[in-house]
């Protein structure tokens, strides 16, 4: 019996849901939501619960420093908490994952139609995204990054399809969710433009206008929903000011623990600006392959944002497969992949040794964090190199087959 592609996709979704149910029954959520690799101060479910509790009591959730996520997630949480089933709002996260996977599948089918996606099967990549232990762990733990990933995939789908209104709205949602998501917004315009070059139904001016309109609507709705403008300052600046120096998978916390007060603002500025400095150069250089630019920038965001988590990694790992050139051009996948595995296994071990056993110290864990960053950076730079190589071969087809040597 030949199973159709659609039904095998829904089988994958069913498998995902059943894994979720099993893990929730085994009470994995309470273990995972305390793991620092998965839930960060910018994405933790416990903080959303705290924000919701404050909101219920009539106190502005953004008045304190515990909750500084986007009001969008608070809104969703509030609406879902009306159901009297305890912890019902946790259902948001697997739903977000499934929505993201659907968007991913839709965009892959679209790419396949345009013959831009040939390496993997569509359902294969969807299962890589859904059944990835990183994704499952993130959604079981209730990390808001799942919602962020879903919104990113929806934005990418809108870009690939070339829908102006859709792209405008989804970009607004994506940037409203986390200010660091602004890093990878620019290539989306190019993707949409490139897709609809023939039909020219994509107008970037209109898209930008809709984006601004929708952002204004979101801001206004949040103001009416919350009662004050505190959320704006809190949710945007908390990511950059780094008042919360919790341990995470990123590069910021260790540095800012030891920085002296006089230098703190300077280095905060440098670290905050850093991911945004990649947007324009990468987009300009890779303007002929904007999808690759998008993937590179997603990787850069996940690497350099203030509170990264493994959900960023799961998105990046999925998106690597939809580069404009084939994955076979990448040279360092095996090395980077193994380094990632190494760091993802050794990181929690060293964290345990540091915090619980007291036999290690912060340097052990931070070293592994650096190894993780090395792996991601390796992948990103490999993609860049392969993209440039691909471009070169396209412009100079006479050199195909000959070995290229980078001189400088």
């Amino acid at each position: 019996m030949k199973v159709s592609e659609t039904s095998s996709f829904w089988l994958i979704v069913l498998l995902y849901v059943s894994i979720h149910i099993v893990l929730h029954t085994l009470d994995f959520s309470s273990i995972l939501e305390k793991r620092i690799e998965i839930s960060t101060p910018a994405s933790s479910f416990l903080r959303v619960k705290e924000g919701y509790y404050l909101y219920k009591k009539g106190i502005d959730p953004y008045e304190g420093v515990v909750f500084f996520q986007s009001p969008f997630i608070l809104l969703l949480h509030t609406c879902l908490s009306v159901v009297s089933v305890p912890n019902f709002s946790r259902v948001l996260y697997p739903v977000a994952d499934i929505v993201g996977a659907t968007a991913l599948r839709a965009l892959l089918l679209c790419l396949k139609k345009q013959k831009r996606f040939t390496s993997w099967s569509v359902n294969g990549l969807c299962s890589l995204y859904l059944l990835n232990p990183l994704t499952i762990a993130a959604s079981v733990a209730g990390s808001s990054d799942c919602v962020s990933n879903a919104l990113t995939l929806i934005a990418l789908y809108c870009a690939v399809v070339g829908s102006t209104a859709g792209l405008g709205c989804s970009i607004a949602l994506v940037t409203f969710f986390n200010p660091f998501n602004c890093v990878y917004v620019l290539p989306l315009f190019l993707i949409a433009h490139k897709t609809t070059k023939k039909e020219s139904t994509f107008s970037w001016k209109r898209c930008l206008f809709i984006d601004l309109e929708y952002t204004a609507l979101l801001l206004l709705t949040s103001y009416l929903f919350l009662g004050s403008w505190k959320f704006l300052i809190s949710s945007i600046t908390s990511n950059f000011i780094l008042q919360n120096l919790s341990v995470s998978l990123g590069l910021w916390w260790y540095f800012f623990i030891e920085i002296f007060e006089t230098f703190r603002s300077f280095f905060l500025f440098v670290f905050a600006i850093h991911p945004f400095t990649y947007t324009l150069p990468v987009t300009i250089r890779l303007r002929k392959q904007p999808l690759t630019a998008f993937v590179v920038l997603v990787g850069v965001t996940g690497l350099l944002k203030s509170y990264p988590s493994i959900a960023d990694l799961s998105l990046f790992v999925t998106l690597i497969h939809i580069l404009d050139f084939g994955k076979s051009r990448l040279k360092f996948v095996f090395l980077a992949g193994n380094t990632l595995l190494y760091s993802l296994f050794l990181g929690p071990a060293f964290f345990q040794a540091w915090i619980y056993l007291g036999s290690g110290n912060a340097n052990f864990f931070y070293a592994i964090t650096l190894v993780y960053a090395l792996a991601v950076a390796l992948l990103v730079s490999d993609i860049l190199r392969a993209a440039l190589e691909n471009e070169f071969y396209q412009e100079h087809p006479e050199f195909v087959g000959q070995k290229l040597l980078q001189v400088f």
């Binding site: 106190i59 809104l75 609406c79 709205c169 929708y214 609507l217 709705t221 009416l224 929903f225 009662g227």
Partner: protein
């Protein structure tokens, strides 16, 4: 005279009486401190260190944190070359509990325990470079437990075999504390020979003093450990600790009267004394955790349905209904409308948190708006 007005007068008087008794019976402290001092040194005074460490452990167990305990010991027992169990101090021959452990914080040790440092600590006139852990940072809402043990005599206590602290100095130091508003109430306990003489000269209000033996009699040790070779605990402290450890926990409502009633002269083998004339609360209303623990009553009801009395006694937990009715019967009632609701409901938005009012723009409306916009846009495109 109308019966109505008579009833209202009676009820008003009863109201005020109720207010008055409530005001004096309930404790008004907001934090607890302990000053635990053993004034003797050398190996044969093992039991004095064990006394203080036993009280220290009890006080910590009942909630006073190390930051609020000033522990003054000679601290020469645990690492004494004669100690068969190095780094351990036991208060009982069964050696079931190591009082020293690995997480005690001794603030004044060795020769830092002097009369001068003790009086400076109490009065707050410490040298400028004294670290915060060695200061008694109390205020007028602090209840302090002062526990002293060592060798003493008639109106003195011996410090480190070199000097004496007299009962007059103790009294003056406590008076200075009162002048500088450094305490709300003090429970002063002394377990020395002729300890009751130490509190004889105190003249400051709000101090309750307990001594282990009368003038002319000695306080005896309880038992010795044959392996350690010396007596490990004193009788008075032993029976106090027994009461605290077996009958008191952090939620306990036992009072000091229960503690003092438990003193059995035949067991303690000395005559403990309690000085209550300076203490204005009835001992049967004073909880043990008012001094030995760090517990407070927390009021969780919002300040609505407040009668005219509430303003004058904010810590009054009973709200008395103002007698506007004809029956003239005064019935205390809790702020009942709130107890019917969620009792853990915190203050409403109009109270302490100021003006962070939340618009209850329904979240569903907000969500609808957020999702409606792109849908409408996309439909209009088609």
């Amino acid at each position: 005279m109308h019966l109505r007005s008579l009833r209202s007068i009676v009820s008003t008087v009863l109201l005020f009486a109720l207010f008055f008794t409530k005001c004096t019976a309930e404790s008004t402290h907001t934090n607890n401190w302990a000053v635990l001092i053993s004034t003797s040194r050398f190996w044969f005074n093992y039991r004095h260190i064990a006394n203080v460490l036993g009280i220290y452990r009890s006080v910590k167990r009942l909630g006073i944190p190390d930051d609020q305990i000033i522990l003054m010991l000679a601290d020469d027992i645990a690492c004494n070359p004669r100690n068969m169990f190095p780094a351990s101090v036991f208060g009982n021959a069964d050696r079931a509990l190591d009082l020293y452990g690995d997480d005690i914080q001794v603030d004044y040790r060795g020769y830092e325990v002097t009369v001068e440092s003790f009086i400076r600590l109490l009065t707050g006139r410490v040298p400028e470079n004294t670290p915060v852990s060695k200061r008694l940072l109390t205020n007028e809402n602090s209840n302090i437990l002062i526990y002293m043990t060592g060798h003493g005599g008639d109106e003195f206590i011996k410090f480190q075999d070199a000097e004496d602290l007299s009962a007059h100095d103790i009294a003056d130091a406590l008076e200075q504390m009162h002048q500088h508003k450094r305490f709300n109430e003090i429970l002063f306990i002394a377990d020395t020979c002729q300890a009751n003489s130490l509190y004889k000269h105190i003249y400051t209000p709000n101090i309750l003093a307990v001594g282990s033996s009368e003038v002319g009699t000695s306080s005896l040790s309880h038992h010795a450990d044959t392996d350690i070779g010396v007596a490990v605990i004193d009788r008075f402290t032993f029976y106090n600790l027994e009461f605290l450890e077996t009958r008191v926990d952090i939620k306990s409502r036992l009072t000091l009267k229960d503690l003092f009633d438990s003193y059995d002269v035949n067991l303690i083998k000395s005559q403990p004394g309690v000085r209550t004339d300076l203490f204005h609360r009835d001992l049967s209303q004073v909880l043990i955790t008012d001094f030995f623990g760090n517990v407070r009553d927390i009021e969780l009801n919002a300040y609505e349905n407040v009668s005219f009395l509430q303003e004058s006694s904010p810590e009054n937990k009973l709200t008395v209904f103002s007698p506007a009715n004809d029956t003239g019967i005064v019935y205390p009632r809790a702020t009942s409308s709130n107890t019917q609701n969620d009792t853990a409901e915190l203050l409403t938005s109009s109270s302490i948190l100021g003006d962070s009012k939340i618009h209850k723009f329904s979240p569903f409306l907000a969500l609808l708006t957020v999702f409606l916009f792109p849908v409408l846009l996309l439909r209009s495109k088609r």
